[in-house]
Symmetry: C2
Subunit: 325 residues, 2 copies
Amino acid sequence: MHEMSSSMVTRLINEMLEGNILSLARLVTLIESEDEATPRIMKSINAHLGKAYRIGITGPIGAGKSTLVERLTSLLRGQEKTVGIICVDPTSPFTGGAVLGDRIRMQKHDLDDGVYIRSMATRGSLGGLPKTIHGVIKLLDAFGKEMVLIETIGVGQTEVDIMQSSDLVIVVLVPEAGDSIQAMKAGLMEIGDIFVVNKADRPGAEDTLNNIKAILKLNAERSNYDIPVVATEAVNNKGIKELYGQIAMKRQLLINNGQFAERRRKQRQSEFIETVINRITSDVINRLTTDAILSRYKEDVENGKLDPFTAANEVYKSIALNGKP
Amino acid sequence: MHEMSSSMVTRLINEMLEGNILSLARLVTLIESEDEATPRIMKSINAHLGKAYRIGITGPIGAGKSTLVERLTSLLRGQEKTVGIICVDPTSPFTGGAVLGDRIRMQKHDLDDGVYIRSMATRGSLGGLPKTIHGVIKLLDAFGKEMVLIETIGVGQTEVDIMQSSDLVIVVLVPEAGDSIQAMKAGLMEIGDIFVVNKADRPGAEDTLNNIKAILKLNAERSNYDIPVVATEAVNNKGIKELYGQIAMKRQLLINNGQFAERRRKQRQSEFIETVINRITSDVINRLTTDAILSRYKEDVENGKLDPFTAANEVYKSIALNGKP
């Protein structure tokens, strides 16, 4: 990684805060690559945070999330609101650009200065949100974006992550036999503040809507929380206004009942704990490969000379944390 | 957690090694709950490992993986092979038993002493394989199971995990418009040794088969590796013999070309590294809540008095690993 001078970073930050989108893009890249300038960037932007509302949009692959995000963005732009979009893709080494095919549709917003779109790869190349996502959201916030839309595929570790990065979560499903059951299996029913049945012109849409409502009622914890289920046809631009109406109402509700403040608290907590754990984990992996004694353990394990669990126990004891236990 | 006496654990291990399935079940529970007896159990069974062949079976939700696993188990039992099955489910607090509905079909094997079935929850309640899965696989191995089938939902961190726990990976898809494209997006195309198009009586099955073959050819790294694509109808018990034929051939091939040994090496390595990291991570989380100074950082972050990233940096410095960096 090409190292950047300290004055260069300061210039980028100042330019970004003045609205320079290219400087924003370069700062995002620095954060994403875990550049050593990260602490300085985070510290500098801290006083400029708090404006952006963070909406997580998640659901199974193929639910039409990208189209929905695009339509929602058009609507928000019509209201003169600035929008930042983070698309989290499970990019794969060999499919490369191909998997991003449906991003192309969103390029109509590329010429609009009020929209900034960034694709990020999932953590560890496949699952979970990238560990630098908190930093990128904060950059978009400091830049002055009023809305940050975070689009992710909703299975696996991602749900937990999206809850810890968003002020509001929208779950997007499609009317397919058993789709709501599958969503339930995947843990999606517990995280949505609003549910969308997209592609609602397909047969079975009404059933899916009713199923979702029934499942939500089953959940003792959630049954008293009014969770709207909205039918949309994103490709035909239908239901988008209704969806936005629900977003606006839910946003106000969450502010009034103190949940918004509570979620922000959890976002800060999660950023804090994750940052500590990520750094220590890198150190552990680093030590296992560079330290002569520890790497011998690793070799013995790989060659089958030592039981992995026993070896891990020994190594753990020798690299335990500093200070009192 | 009720603590177990040392002699009780020894008795359980001996009984399990003699074929007592109830003792096996109790040991699995101990491992799963990260009981302090774990190191002793792992050490005791180490000399009894090596017999079980580990097959990971993964694919999107709704592909019919459970039915396929059940049919494959019937076939294996017909050949007098003993089978262990680990079903990894994204169990959710409120859906509880309901998400396990399709496990009921597998109960026909419950009366068969040659089959042991265990459901495990995904890591952190949603994504990824449970961190204790290596231990449970090894228990099934020590118990004498010749085949261990590990069934998981294939999106997110799970793929990486399944590759690091299996000798052979089967990816199950269904013939649906764009299903193979979606699988590619989810990173599934890179991990399968064998692909299955289940529900092959549905329209579009032929197209899906051809699409998968075409995608596999696109991958420079994989195009020279012969990857069979098998059509099955698990509910009608069709194609299962063909699938097993491919498993047997691929198994032999991987032994001959040294890949089997290499995968075992990686399994040991991954168990080793993961165990170290999991233990250190628990320590970090523990310290952040119990240590007076560190928990004050956490509070200041939660209340917005301190920038999370800066606080994490400070905490990281004070709890860095022992020994030289």
